[in-house]
Protein backbone atom coordinates (compact mmCIF):
# COMPACT_ATOMS: atom_id res chain seq x y z
CA UNK A 1 0.00 0.00 0.00
CA UNK A 2 1.31 3.44 -0.89
CA UNK A 3 1.75 6.05 1.77
CA UNK A 4 2.72 9.64 1.52
CA UNK A 5 4.05 12.17 3.94
CA UNK A 6 0.64 13.66 4.74
CA UNK A 7 -0.70 10.27 5.74
CA UNK A 8 2.31 9.58 7.89
CA UNK A 9 2.18 12.85 9.76
CA UNK A 10 -1.55 13.47 9.77
CA UNK A 11 -4.27 12.25 12.14
CA UNK A 12 -5.09 8.54 11.96
CA UNK A 13 -8.66 8.31 10.74
CA UNK A 14 -10.43 10.97 12.72
CA UNK A 15 -11.86 14.42 12.31
CA UNK A 16 -13.75 16.55 14.86
CA UNK A 17 -16.92 15.53 12.97
CA UNK A 18 -16.14 11.85 13.71
CA UNK A 19 -16.95 12.14 17.43
CA UNK A 20 -20.46 10.60 17.07
CA UNK A 21 -18.82 7.46 15.62
CA UNK A 22 -17.59 6.69 19.14
CA UNK A 23 -20.72 7.47 21.19
CA UNK A 24 -21.20 4.98 24.05
CA UNK A 25 -23.86 2.48 22.93
CA UNK A 26 -26.45 3.29 25.61
CA UNK A 27 -26.16 6.97 24.83
CA UNK A 28 -26.45 6.24 21.11
CA UNK A 29 -29.63 4.19 21.59
CA UNK A 30 -31.17 6.96 23.71
CA UNK A 31 -30.34 9.50 21.02
CA UNK A 32 -31.77 7.25 18.32
CA UNK A 33 -35.05 6.77 20.20
CA UNK A 34 -35.36 10.48 20.82
CA UNK A 35 -34.75 11.23 17.14
CA UNK A 36 -37.01 8.41 15.95
CA UNK A 37 -39.91 9.72 17.97
CA UNK A 38 -39.33 13.22 16.61
CA UNK A 39 -39.08 12.13 12.97
CA UNK A 40 -42.18 9.93 13.17
CA UNK A 41 -44.10 12.80 14.70
CA UNK A 42 -42.85 15.16 12.00
CA UNK A 43 -43.77 12.77 9.18
CA UNK A 44 -47.17 12.11 10.73
CA UNK A 45 -47.87 15.83 10.99
CA UNK A 46 -46.49 16.90 7.63
CA UNK A 47 -46.67 13.97 5.16
CA UNK A 48 -50.26 13.06 4.24
CA UNK A 49 -49.59 9.62 2.69
CA UNK A 50 -47.65 8.57 5.82
CA UNK A 51 -50.41 9.74 8.11
CA UNK A 52 -52.98 7.86 6.04
CA UNK A 53 -50.97 4.66 6.37
CA UNK A 54 -50.61 5.12 10.12
CA UNK A 55 -54.34 5.72 10.42
CA UNK A 56 -55.00 2.53 8.43
CA UNK A 57 -53.22 0.45 11.06
CA UNK A 58 -54.46 2.61 13.93
CA UNK A 59 -51.02 3.70 15.11
CA UNK A 60 -50.10 7.07 16.55
CA UNK A 61 -46.55 8.46 16.86
CA UNK A 62 -46.63 8.62 20.67
CA UNK A 63 -47.17 4.84 20.79
CA UNK A 64 -43.55 4.34 19.73
CA UNK A 65 -41.89 4.19 23.12
CA UNK A 66 -38.85 2.00 22.40
CA UNK A 67 -36.49 1.38 19.48
CA UNK A 68 -37.85 -2.15 19.01
CA UNK A 69 -41.27 -0.69 18.39
CA UNK A 70 -39.97 0.71 15.13
CA UNK A 71 -41.17 -2.63 13.75
CA UNK A 72 -44.76 -1.48 14.26
CA UNK A 73 -44.31 1.32 11.74
CA UNK A 74 -45.33 0.84 8.11
CA UNK A 75 -42.66 0.37 5.44
CA UNK A 76 -41.91 2.87 2.70
CA UNK A 77 -41.01 1.45 -0.73
CA UNK A 78 -39.66 2.94 -3.92
CA UNK A 79 -43.05 3.03 -5.62
CA UNK A 80 -44.30 5.31 -2.82
CA UNK A 81 -41.82 7.90 -4.07
CA UNK A 82 -43.00 7.42 -7.67
CA UNK A 83 -46.67 7.52 -6.73
CA UNK A 84 -46.17 10.79 -4.87
CA UNK A 85 -44.10 12.41 -7.62
CA UNK A 86 -42.84 15.05 -7.39
CA UNK A 87 -43.32 16.61 -3.95
CA UNK A 88 -45.96 14.46 -2.21
CA UNK A 89 -43.66 13.10 0.50
CA UNK A 90 -42.05 16.40 1.47
CA UNK A 91 -42.31 17.41 5.11
CA UNK A 92 -40.96 20.92 4.55
CA UNK A 93 -42.43 23.80 2.55
CA UNK A 94 -40.43 24.76 -0.53
CA UNK A 95 -39.16 27.90 1.19
CA UNK A 96 -37.11 25.64 3.48
CA UNK A 97 -35.85 23.37 0.70
CA UNK A 98 -32.40 24.24 -0.64
CA UNK A 99 -31.74 21.28 -2.93
CA UNK A 100 -33.60 18.80 -5.11
CA UNK A 101 -32.10 15.64 -6.57
CA UNK A 102 -33.77 13.03 -8.75
CA UNK A 103 -33.06 9.54 -10.01
CA UNK A 104 -32.42 9.12 -13.71
CA UNK A 105 -35.77 7.36 -14.09
CA UNK A 106 -35.27 5.08 -17.09
CA UNK A 107 -38.86 3.89 -16.77
CA UNK A 108 -41.62 6.37 -16.13
CA UNK A 109 -41.21 9.23 -13.71
CA UNK A 110 -38.03 9.72 -11.72
CA UNK A 111 -38.06 9.83 -7.95
CA UNK A 112 -37.39 13.18 -6.35
CA UNK A 113 -35.62 13.87 -3.06
CA UNK A 114 -35.33 17.16 -1.16
CA UNK A 115 -32.96 18.67 1.37
CA UNK A 116 -33.22 21.58 3.77
CA UNK A 117 -30.10 23.47 4.79
CA UNK A 118 -29.93 21.24 7.91
CA UNK A 119 -30.22 18.11 5.73
CA UNK A 120 -27.33 19.24 3.53
CA UNK A 121 -25.27 19.88 6.67
CA UNK A 122 -26.03 16.39 8.01
CA UNK A 123 -25.18 14.88 4.63
CA UNK A 124 -21.89 16.77 4.57
CA UNK A 125 -21.08 15.68 8.13
CA UNK A 126 -21.65 11.98 7.45
CA UNK A 127 -19.46 12.18 4.36
CA UNK A 128 -16.76 13.92 6.35
CA UNK A 129 -16.95 11.03 8.84
CA UNK A 130 -16.86 8.52 5.98
CA UNK A 131 -13.84 10.08 4.29
CA UNK A 132 -12.03 10.60 7.61
CA UNK A 133 -12.57 6.90 8.32
CA UNK A 134 -10.79 6.16 5.03
CA UNK A 135 -7.76 8.00 6.41
CA UNK A 136 -8.35 11.16 4.36
CA UNK A 137 -7.94 14.65 5.75
CA UNK A 138 -7.04 18.26 5.11
CA UNK A 139 -4.13 18.38 2.68
CA UNK A 140 -5.49 15.55 0.56
CA UNK A 141 -6.45 16.27 -3.03
CA UNK A 142 -9.70 14.46 -3.78
CA UNK A 143 -10.94 13.94 -7.31
CA UNK A 144 -14.71 13.52 -7.45
CA UNK A 145 -15.51 11.52 -10.58
CA UNK A 146 -19.10 10.72 -9.72
CA UNK A 147 -21.51 12.45 -12.05
CA UNK A 148 -22.50 15.94 -10.90
CA UNK A 149 -26.12 16.82 -11.40
CA UNK A 150 -29.40 15.25 -10.42
CA UNK A 151 -27.49 12.16 -9.27
CA UNK A 152 -26.53 12.52 -5.60
CA UNK A 153 -23.04 11.05 -6.02
CA UNK A 154 -21.14 14.04 -7.36
CA UNK A 155 -22.43 16.85 -5.19
CA UNK A 156 -22.61 14.60 -2.12
CA UNK A 157 -18.96 13.57 -2.32
CA UNK A 158 -18.01 17.13 -3.25
CA UNK A 159 -19.54 18.68 -0.14
CA UNK A 160 -18.09 15.92 2.01
CA UNK A 161 -14.58 16.33 0.67
CA UNK A 162 -14.78 20.10 1.03
CA UNK A 163 -16.20 19.73 4.54
CA UNK A 164 -13.24 17.56 5.39
CA UNK A 165 -10.95 20.40 4.37
CA UNK A 166 -9.47 18.56 1.43
CA UNK A 167 -8.85 20.18 -1.96
CA UNK A 168 -11.55 19.00 -4.34
CA UNK A 169 -11.07 18.39 -8.05
CA UNK A 170 -14.66 18.22 -9.35
CA UNK A 171 -14.06 16.36 -12.60
CA UNK A 172 -17.48 14.67 -12.64
CA UNK A 173 -17.70 11.58 -14.87
CA UNK A 174 -16.42 11.09 -18.39
CA UNK A 175 -13.30 12.12 -20.31
CA UNK A 176 -11.11 9.35 -18.91
CA UNK A 177 -7.94 10.73 -20.52
CA UNK A 178 -8.44 14.09 -18.87
CA UNK A 179 -9.24 12.43 -15.53
CA UNK A 180 -5.92 10.60 -15.68
CA UNK A 181 -3.99 13.65 -16.83
CA UNK A 182 -5.35 15.74 -13.92
CA UNK A 183 -4.82 12.92 -11.47
CA UNK A 184 -1.18 12.83 -12.50
CA UNK A 185 -0.53 16.57 -12.90
CA UNK A 186 -2.37 17.65 -9.72
CA UNK A 187 -0.94 14.85 -7.60
CA UNK A 188 -4.42 13.67 -6.65
CA UNK A 189 -4.30 11.50 -3.51
CA UNK A 190 -7.85 10.07 -3.46
CA UNK A 191 -10.70 9.49 -5.87
CA UNK A 192 -14.45 9.04 -5.41
CA UNK A 193 -16.32 7.24 -8.20
CA UNK A 194 -18.09 3.99 -9.05
CA UNK A 195 -15.85 0.91 -8.95
CA UNK A 196 -16.58 0.12 -12.60
CA UNK A 197 -15.53 3.60 -13.63
CA UNK A 198 -12.29 3.22 -11.74
CA UNK A 199 -11.65 -0.09 -13.54
CA UNK A 200 -12.12 1.83 -16.77
CA UNK A 201 -9.60 4.46 -15.59
CA UNK A 202 -7.10 1.71 -14.72
CA UNK A 203 -7.42 0.26 -18.24
CA UNK A 204 -7.16 3.67 -19.84
CA UNK A 205 -4.11 4.62 -17.75
CA UNK A 206 -2.32 1.47 -18.98
CA UNK A 207 -3.16 2.41 -22.56
CA UNK A 208 -1.85 5.93 -21.95
CA UNK A 209 1.35 4.57 -20.47
CA UNK A 210 0.58 5.96 -17.01
CA UNK A 211 1.47 3.66 -14.11
CA UNK A 212 -1.08 4.35 -11.37
CA UNK A 213 1.23 2.74 -8.86
CA UNK A 214 3.69 5.57 -9.46
CA UNK A 215 1.09 8.29 -8.74
CA UNK A 216 0.44 9.84 -5.31
CA UNK A 217 -3.10 8.37 -5.48
CA UNK A 218 -3.48 6.21 -2.38
CA UNK A 219 -7.22 5.79 -1.73
CA UNK A 220 -10.40 5.21 -3.70
CA UNK A 221 -13.87 5.58 -2.19
CA UNK A 222 -16.13 3.52 -4.39
CA UNK A 223 -19.88 3.20 -4.30
CA UNK A 224 -23.25 3.52 -6.07
CA UNK A 225 -23.16 -0.12 -7.21
CA UNK A 226 -22.37 -3.46 -5.61
CA UNK A 227 -18.83 -4.76 -5.99
CA UNK A 228 -16.96 -7.73 -4.63
CA UNK A 229 -13.88 -8.36 -2.52
CA UNK A 230 -12.19 -9.99 -5.52
CA UNK A 231 -12.76 -6.76 -7.41
CA UNK A 232 -11.13 -4.90 -4.52
CA UNK A 233 -8.08 -7.17 -4.72
CA UNK A 234 -7.88 -6.54 -8.45
CA UNK A 235 -8.18 -2.75 -8.08
CA UNK A 236 -5.60 -2.64 -5.29
CA UNK A 237 -3.12 -4.82 -7.16
CA UNK A 238 -3.48 -2.87 -10.40
CA UNK A 239 -3.37 0.64 -8.96
CA UNK A 240 -1.59 0.33 -5.61
CA UNK A 241 -4.36 2.20 -3.79
CA UNK A 242 -6.50 1.23 -0.81
CA UNK A 243 -10.08 0.71 -1.98
CA UNK A 244 -13.01 1.58 0.31
CA UNK A 245 -16.65 0.68 -0.07
CA UNK A 246 -19.11 3.50 0.58
CA UNK A 247 -22.84 2.96 0.74
CA UNK A 248 -25.78 5.21 0.24
CA UNK A 249 -28.95 5.79 -1.67
CA UNK A 250 -30.71 8.94 -2.75
CA UNK A 251 -33.95 8.03 -1.01
CA UNK A 252 -32.12 8.15 2.33
CA UNK A 253 -29.63 10.96 1.63
CA UNK A 254 -27.18 9.87 -1.08
CA UNK A 255 -23.68 8.47 -0.55
CA UNK A 256 -22.56 8.49 3.08
CA UNK A 257 -25.15 6.28 4.76
CA UNK A 258 -22.27 3.98 5.62
CA UNK A 259 -18.62 3.46 4.77
CA UNK A 260 -15.73 1.14 5.50
CA UNK A 261 -12.97 2.20 7.84
CA UNK A 262 -9.34 1.15 7.37
CA UNK A 263 -10.06 -2.26 8.92
CA UNK A 264 -12.33 -3.15 5.98
CA UNK A 265 -14.55 -5.30 8.16
CA UNK A 266 -17.93 -4.16 6.90
CA UNK A 267 -19.39 -0.68 6.48
CA UNK A 268 -20.07 1.51 9.50
CA UNK A 269 -23.59 2.91 9.30
CA UNK A 270 -23.87 6.47 10.59
CA UNK A 271 -26.71 5.22 12.69
CA UNK A 272 -27.16 8.38 14.72
CA UNK A 273 -28.82 9.62 11.49
CA UNK A 274 -29.84 6.41 9.67
CA UNK A 275 -31.35 3.64 11.75
CA UNK A 276 -30.69 0.21 10.24
CA UNK A 277 -32.87 -2.89 10.50
CA UNK A 278 -32.67 -6.22 8.74
CA UNK A 279 -35.92 -7.88 7.75
CA UNK A 280 -36.97 -11.08 6.06
CA UNK A 281 -37.75 -9.76 2.60
CA UNK A 282 -40.55 -12.30 2.12
CA UNK A 283 -42.45 -11.80 5.38
CA UNK A 284 -41.28 -8.31 6.39
CA UNK A 285 -40.46 -9.62 9.88
CA UNK A 286 -37.44 -8.07 11.65
CA UNK A 287 -34.37 -10.29 11.97
CA UNK A 288 -31.76 -10.10 14.75
CA UNK A 289 -28.27 -8.71 14.15
CA UNK A 290 -26.07 -11.31 12.48
CA UNK A 291 -28.85 -12.67 10.25
CA UNK A 292 -28.93 -11.96 6.53
CA UNK A 293 -31.90 -10.17 5.07
CA UNK A 294 -33.07 -6.96 3.48
CA UNK A 295 -31.71 -3.69 4.82
CA UNK A 296 -34.37 -1.22 5.98
CA UNK A 297 -33.36 2.32 6.86
CA UNK A 298 -35.09 5.11 8.74
CA UNK A 299 -33.78 8.66 8.52
CA UNK A 300 -33.62 9.88 12.09
CA UNK A 301 -32.87 13.54 11.45
CA UNK A 302 -34.06 14.27 7.92
CA UNK A 303 -36.20 17.39 7.68
CA UNK A 304 -37.32 17.87 4.09
CA UNK A 305 -38.16 14.28 3.32
CA UNK A 306 -38.15 11.83 6.22
CA UNK A 307 -38.05 8.18 5.18
CA UNK A 308 -39.63 5.82 7.66
CA UNK A 309 -38.56 2.17 7.33
CA UNK A 310 -37.46 2.47 3.73
CA UNK A 311 -36.94 -0.92 2.10
CA UNK A 312 -33.61 -0.69 0.29
CA UNK A 313 -33.86 -4.10 -1.48
CA UNK A 314 -30.18 -4.53 -0.59
CA UNK A 315 -29.38 -7.87 1.00
CA UNK A 316 -26.89 -7.77 3.88
CA UNK A 317 -26.30 -8.49 7.56
CA UNK A 318 -25.86 -6.19 10.55
CA UNK A 319 -22.53 -7.42 11.89
CA UNK A 320 -22.27 -8.27 15.56
CA UNK A 321 -19.31 -7.30 17.70
CA UNK A 322 -17.27 -4.14 17.69
CA UNK A 323 -14.86 -3.12 14.98
CA UNK A 324 -11.17 -2.97 15.84
CA UNK A 325 -11.24 0.76 15.02
CA UNK A 326 -13.21 1.42 18.18
CA UNK A 327 -16.26 2.96 16.53
CA UNK A 328 -19.43 2.05 18.37
CA UNK A 329 -21.73 2.57 15.41
CA UNK A 330 -22.75 -0.77 13.92
CA UNK A 331 -21.56 -2.20 10.64
CA UNK A 332 -23.31 -3.95 7.78
CA UNK A 333 -21.68 -6.56 5.56
CA UNK A 334 -20.73 -5.51 2.05
CA UNK A 335 -23.70 -5.59 -0.25
CA UNK A 336 -23.31 -8.26 -2.90
CA UNK A 337 -26.80 -8.46 -4.18
CA UNK A 338 -30.21 -6.87 -4.20
CA UNK A 339 -33.44 -8.69 -3.64
CA UNK A 340 -34.71 -7.25 -6.89
CA UNK A 341 -31.76 -8.04 -9.16
CA UNK A 342 -32.13 -11.74 -8.66
CA UNK A 343 -32.67 -13.47 -11.98
CA UNK A 344 -34.67 -16.64 -12.18
CA UNK A 345 -33.31 -18.74 -15.00
CA UNK A 346 -34.96 -22.08 -15.66
CA UNK A 347 -36.12 -21.96 -12.05
CA UNK A 348 -32.65 -21.32 -10.62
CA UNK A 349 -31.86 -18.12 -8.72
CA UNK A 350 -28.90 -16.30 -10.21
CA UNK A 351 -27.33 -13.04 -9.09
CA UNK A 352 -25.17 -10.97 -11.46
CA UNK A 353 -22.52 -10.77 -8.71
CA UNK A 354 -22.08 -14.55 -9.00
CA UNK A 355 -21.08 -14.11 -12.63
CA UNK A 356 -18.41 -11.67 -11.54
CA UNK A 357 -17.15 -14.11 -8.92
CA UNK A 358 -16.90 -16.82 -11.58
CA UNK A 359 -15.07 -14.57 -14.04
CA UNK A 360 -12.62 -13.52 -11.34
CA UNK A 361 -11.76 -17.14 -10.64
CA UNK A 362 -10.01 -17.24 -13.98
CA UNK A 363 -6.66 -15.83 -13.11
CA UNK A 364 -5.75 -12.37 -14.25
CA UNK A 365 -9.08 -11.51 -15.78
CA UNK A 366 -11.60 -8.93 -14.76
CA UNK A 367 -13.19 -8.28 -18.10
CA UNK A 368 -16.24 -6.26 -18.93
CA UNK A 369 -19.18 -8.59 -19.20
CA UNK A 370 -22.87 -8.57 -19.85
CA UNK A 371 -25.59 -11.07 -19.23
CA UNK A 372 -28.04 -11.58 -22.06
CA UNK A 373 -31.25 -13.47 -21.35
CA UNK A 374 -33.41 -14.81 -24.13
CA UNK A 375 -36.11 -17.42 -24.47
CA UNK A 376 -35.78 -20.06 -27.14
CA UNK A 377 -38.59 -22.54 -27.65
CA UNK A 378 -39.99 -21.72 -24.26
CA UNK A 379 -36.66 -22.26 -22.50
CA UNK A 380 -34.61 -19.54 -20.83
CA UNK A 381 -31.14 -19.09 -22.25
CA UNK A 382 -28.40 -17.20 -20.49
CA UNK A 383 -25.44 -15.91 -22.39
CA UNK A 384 -22.50 -14.24 -20.70
CA UNK A 385 -20.68 -11.99 -23.13
CA UNK A 386 -17.09 -11.43 -22.06
CA UNK A 387 -14.81 -8.88 -23.63
CA UNK A 388 -11.39 -10.19 -24.56
CA UNK A 389 -8.79 -7.94 -22.93
CA UNK A 390 -5.18 -7.77 -24.16
CA UNK A 391 -4.19 -9.71 -21.00
CA UNK A 392 -6.55 -12.55 -21.90
CA UNK A 393 -5.80 -12.58 -25.59
CA UNK A 394 -3.43 -15.17 -27.01
CA UNK A 395 -2.41 -15.67 -30.63
CA UNK A 396 -2.88 -19.44 -30.30
CA UNK A 397 -6.36 -20.76 -31.02
CA UNK A 398 -5.83 -23.56 -28.52
CA UNK A 399 -5.12 -21.06 -25.73
CA UNK A 400 -8.26 -19.09 -26.59
CA UNK A 401 -10.33 -22.25 -26.60
CA UNK A 402 -8.80 -23.14 -23.25
CA UNK A 403 -9.79 -19.74 -21.85
CA UNK A 404 -13.28 -20.16 -23.23
CA UNK A 405 -13.56 -23.58 -21.61
CA UNK A 406 -12.24 -22.32 -18.26
CA UNK A 407 -14.73 -19.46 -18.22
CA UNK A 408 -17.51 -21.83 -19.11
CA UNK A 409 -16.46 -24.24 -16.35
CA UNK A 410 -16.21 -21.52 -13.70
CA UNK A 411 -19.66 -20.14 -14.60
CA UNK A 412 -21.27 -23.58 -14.60
CA UNK A 413 -19.78 -24.34 -11.18
CA UNK A 414 -20.73 -21.05 -9.54
CA UNK A 415 -24.20 -20.66 -11.06
CA UNK A 416 -25.21 -24.28 -11.12
CA UNK A 417 -26.77 -23.93 -14.54
CA UNK A 418 -25.48 -24.27 -18.07
CA UNK A 419 -24.79 -20.90 -19.66
CA UNK A 420 -23.34 -19.94 -23.01
CA UNK A 421 -20.12 -17.96 -22.95
CA UNK A 422 -19.35 -15.67 -25.87
CA UNK A 423 -15.94 -14.06 -26.24
CA UNK A 424 -16.47 -10.66 -27.80
CA UNK A 425 -14.17 -7.91 -29.03
CA UNK A 426 -12.94 -5.27 -26.61
CA UNK A 427 -15.11 -2.16 -26.19
CA UNK A 428 -18.17 -3.72 -27.77
CA UNK A 429 -20.20 -3.93 -24.57
CA UNK A 430 -21.91 -0.66 -23.85
CA UNK A 431 -20.30 1.41 -21.10
CA UNK A 432 -22.00 3.96 -18.97
CA UNK A 433 -19.99 6.50 -17.06
CA UNK A 434 -21.86 5.60 -13.93
CA UNK A 435 -23.35 2.22 -13.28
CA UNK A 436 -22.70 -0.68 -15.61
CA UNK A 437 -25.63 -2.27 -17.40
CA UNK A 438 -24.99 -5.87 -16.47
CA UNK A 439 -28.18 -7.53 -17.56
CA UNK A 440 -30.22 -7.38 -20.73
CA UNK A 441 -33.40 -9.39 -20.41
CA UNK A 442 -35.04 -10.12 -23.76
CA UNK A 443 -37.35 -12.78 -22.41
CA UNK A 444 -41.00 -11.99 -22.97
CA UNK A 445 -43.24 -13.70 -20.51
Amino acid sequence: MKTNSILETGPADCHPASVPDYTPVAELRALQLHRLQAVVKRAWEQVKPFRARMDEIGLRPEQISSLDEIARLPFTVKSDLRDNYPFGLFASPMKDVVRLHASSGTTGKPIVVAYTKEDVDVWTSVLVRALAGCGLHRGDIIQVSYGYGLFTGGLGAHYGAEGLGAAVVPTSGGHADRQIMLMKDFGVTAICCTPTYFLHLIDRAVEMGVDMKELPLRAGVFGAEPWTDSMRQHIQAQSGIEAFDIYGLSEIIGPGVGCECRHHQGLHIFEDHFYPEIIDSETGEPLPDGMEGELVLTTLSKQAMPMIRYRTRDITTILTGQCECGRTIRRIGRIGRRSDDMLIIRGVNVFPSQVETALLQIEGTLPHYQILLTREQGLDQMEVRVEVTPQMFNDKIGAMQGLHKNLQGALDRVLGIRVRVALVEANTIERSEGKATRVIDRRTS
Partner: protein
Protein backbone atom coordinates in the same frame (compact mmCIF):
# COMPACT_ATOMS: atom_id res chain seq x y z
CA UNK B 1 16.37 -14.20 -35.75
CA UNK B 2 12.89 -13.74 -34.32
CA UNK B 3 10.41 -11.54 -36.07
CA UNK B 4 7.38 -9.75 -34.71
CA UNK B 5 3.92 -10.81 -35.66
CA UNK B 6 0.81 -8.82 -34.86
CA UNK B 7 -2.27 -10.79 -33.82
CA UNK B 8 -5.77 -9.42 -33.58
CA UNK B 9 -8.87 -10.84 -31.94
CA UNK B 10 -12.03 -10.64 -34.06
CA UNK B 11 -15.48 -12.08 -33.71
CA UNK B 12 -16.48 -14.38 -36.53
CA UNK B 13 -19.14 -12.07 -37.94
CA UNK B 14 -19.49 -10.26 -41.25
CA UNK B 15 -17.49 -7.04 -41.39
CA UNK B 16 -15.42 -7.61 -38.28
CA UNK B 17 -12.10 -7.65 -40.08
CA UNK B 18 -12.98 -4.74 -42.34
CA UNK B 19 -12.69 -2.10 -39.63
CA UNK B 20 -9.11 -2.90 -38.56
CA UNK B 21 -8.10 -3.42 -42.18
CA UNK B 22 -9.46 0.00 -43.08
CA UNK B 23 -7.66 1.56 -40.15
CA UNK B 24 -4.31 0.09 -41.19
CA UNK B 25 -4.94 1.12 -44.80
CA UNK B 26 -5.66 4.73 -43.81
CA UNK B 27 -2.34 4.93 -42.02
CA UNK B 28 -0.50 3.45 -45.00
CA UNK B 29 0.52 0.27 -43.21
CA UNK B 30 1.53 -2.43 -45.64
CA UNK B 31 0.61 -6.01 -44.84
CA UNK B 32 3.39 -8.35 -45.85
CA UNK B 33 1.64 -11.55 -44.84
CA UNK B 34 -1.70 -12.42 -43.35
CA UNK B 35 -3.28 -15.52 -41.94
CA UNK B 36 -6.66 -16.03 -40.32
CA UNK B 37 -7.17 -18.81 -37.80
CA UNK B 38 -10.78 -19.22 -36.95
CA UNK B 39 -13.34 -21.05 -34.88
CA UNK B 40 -17.08 -20.89 -35.31
CA UNK B 41 -17.32 -17.89 -33.01
CA UNK B 42 -14.12 -15.93 -33.29
CA UNK B 43 -10.88 -15.71 -35.15
CA UNK B 44 -7.30 -14.61 -34.74
CA UNK B 45 -5.88 -12.54 -37.54
CA UNK B 46 -2.11 -12.88 -37.68
CA UNK B 47 -0.19 -10.30 -39.64
CA UNK B 48 3.39 -9.54 -40.60
CA UNK B 49 3.71 -5.81 -41.16
CA UNK B 50 6.70 -3.61 -41.64
CA UNK B 51 5.92 -0.94 -39.09
CA UNK B 52 4.54 -3.26 -36.41
CA UNK B 53 5.04 -0.94 -33.41
CA UNK B 54 2.96 1.73 -35.15
CA UNK B 55 0.33 -0.79 -36.26
CA UNK B 56 0.06 -2.25 -32.75
CA UNK B 57 -0.27 1.19 -31.15
CA UNK B 58 -2.85 2.21 -33.73
CA UNK B 59 -5.02 -0.86 -33.21
CA UNK B 60 -4.80 -0.52 -29.45
CA UNK B 61 -5.66 3.17 -29.54
CA UNK B 62 -8.78 2.30 -31.52
CA UNK B 63 -9.89 -0.23 -28.96
CA UNK B 64 -8.92 -3.42 -30.77
CA UNK B 65 -7.41 -6.30 -28.86
CA UNK B 66 -4.03 -6.90 -30.46
CA UNK B 67 -0.84 -8.52 -29.36
CA UNK B 68 2.73 -8.75 -30.65
CA UNK B 69 4.33 -12.18 -30.56
CA UNK B 70 7.65 -13.47 -31.81
CA UNK B 71 7.71 -16.03 -34.58
CA UNK B 72 10.37 -17.42 -36.91
CA UNK B 73 10.55 -16.76 -40.65
CA UNK B 74 12.20 -19.53 -42.59
CA UNK B 75 13.29 -19.20 -46.20
CA UNK B 76 12.71 -22.25 -48.35
CA UNK B 77 13.01 -23.03 -52.03
CA UNK B 78 9.62 -22.57 -53.69
CA UNK B 79 9.56 -26.09 -55.16
CA UNK B 80 8.22 -29.54 -54.22
CA UNK B 81 9.99 -30.80 -51.10
CA UNK B 82 10.83 -27.35 -49.73
CA UNK B 83 8.57 -27.71 -46.71
CA UNK B 84 9.56 -31.31 -46.09
CA UNK B 85 13.22 -30.26 -45.78
CA UNK B 86 12.46 -27.77 -43.06
CA UNK B 87 10.24 -30.15 -41.15
CA UNK B 88 12.89 -32.82 -41.45
CA UNK B 89 15.31 -30.57 -39.59
CA UNK B 90 13.21 -30.52 -36.46
CA UNK B 91 11.81 -34.02 -36.70
CA UNK B 92 12.59 -36.17 -33.68
CA UNK B 93 13.62 -33.17 -31.59
CA UNK B 94 10.39 -32.98 -29.65
CA UNK B 95 9.89 -29.42 -30.82
CA UNK B 96 6.25 -28.78 -31.57
CA UNK B 97 4.80 -26.45 -34.17
CA UNK B 98 2.05 -24.43 -32.55
CA UNK B 99 1.04 -23.03 -35.91
CA UNK B 100 2.52 -22.14 -39.27
CA UNK B 101 1.65 -20.45 -42.52
CA UNK B 102 3.44 -19.76 -45.76
CA UNK B 103 3.66 -17.05 -48.40
CA UNK B 104 5.72 -16.56 -51.54
CA UNK B 105 8.71 -14.25 -51.30
CA UNK B 106 8.51 -11.15 -53.43
CA UNK B 107 11.95 -11.77 -54.87
CA UNK B 108 13.19 -14.85 -56.62
CA UNK B 109 12.00 -18.38 -56.27
CA UNK B 110 11.88 -18.54 -52.50
CA UNK B 111 8.92 -18.98 -50.19
CA UNK B 112 8.66 -17.89 -46.57
CA UNK B 113 7.35 -20.10 -43.82
CA UNK B 114 6.24 -18.48 -40.60
CA UNK B 115 6.47 -20.75 -37.56
CA UNK B 116 5.41 -20.46 -33.96
CA UNK B 117 7.32 -23.19 -32.12
CA UNK B 118 6.80 -24.18 -28.51
CA UNK B 119 10.57 -23.82 -28.06
CA UNK B 120 11.79 -21.23 -30.55
CA UNK B 121 15.39 -21.18 -29.33
CA UNK B 122 15.81 -24.92 -29.77
CA UNK B 123 14.18 -24.65 -33.19
CA UNK B 124 16.61 -21.92 -34.28
CA UNK B 125 19.51 -24.12 -33.31
CA UNK B 126 18.19 -27.15 -35.18
CA UNK B 127 17.29 -25.21 -38.30
CA UNK B 128 20.59 -23.39 -38.48
CA UNK B 129 22.50 -26.62 -37.94
CA UNK B 130 20.64 -28.04 -40.94
CA UNK B 131 21.78 -25.05 -43.01
CA UNK B 132 18.30 -23.58 -43.28
CA UNK B 133 18.13 -19.81 -43.64
CA UNK B 134 16.20 -17.90 -41.00
CA UNK B 135 15.30 -14.38 -42.01
CA UNK B 136 15.91 -11.46 -39.72
CA UNK B 137 13.23 -8.84 -39.45
CA UNK B 138 15.18 -6.28 -41.56
CA UNK B 139 15.60 -8.78 -44.37
CA UNK B 140 12.03 -9.97 -44.39
CA UNK B 141 10.50 -6.52 -44.24
CA UNK B 142 12.82 -4.55 -46.48
Amino acid sequence: MKIQQLSLFAENKPGHIAAPARLLAQEGIDLRALFLADTEEYGILRMIVKDWPKAAALLEAHGFTAKVTEVLAVEVADRPGGLAEVLGAIEGSGINIEYMYAFPYLRGDQAILIFRFNDPDAAIERLQAAGINLLASEELLK
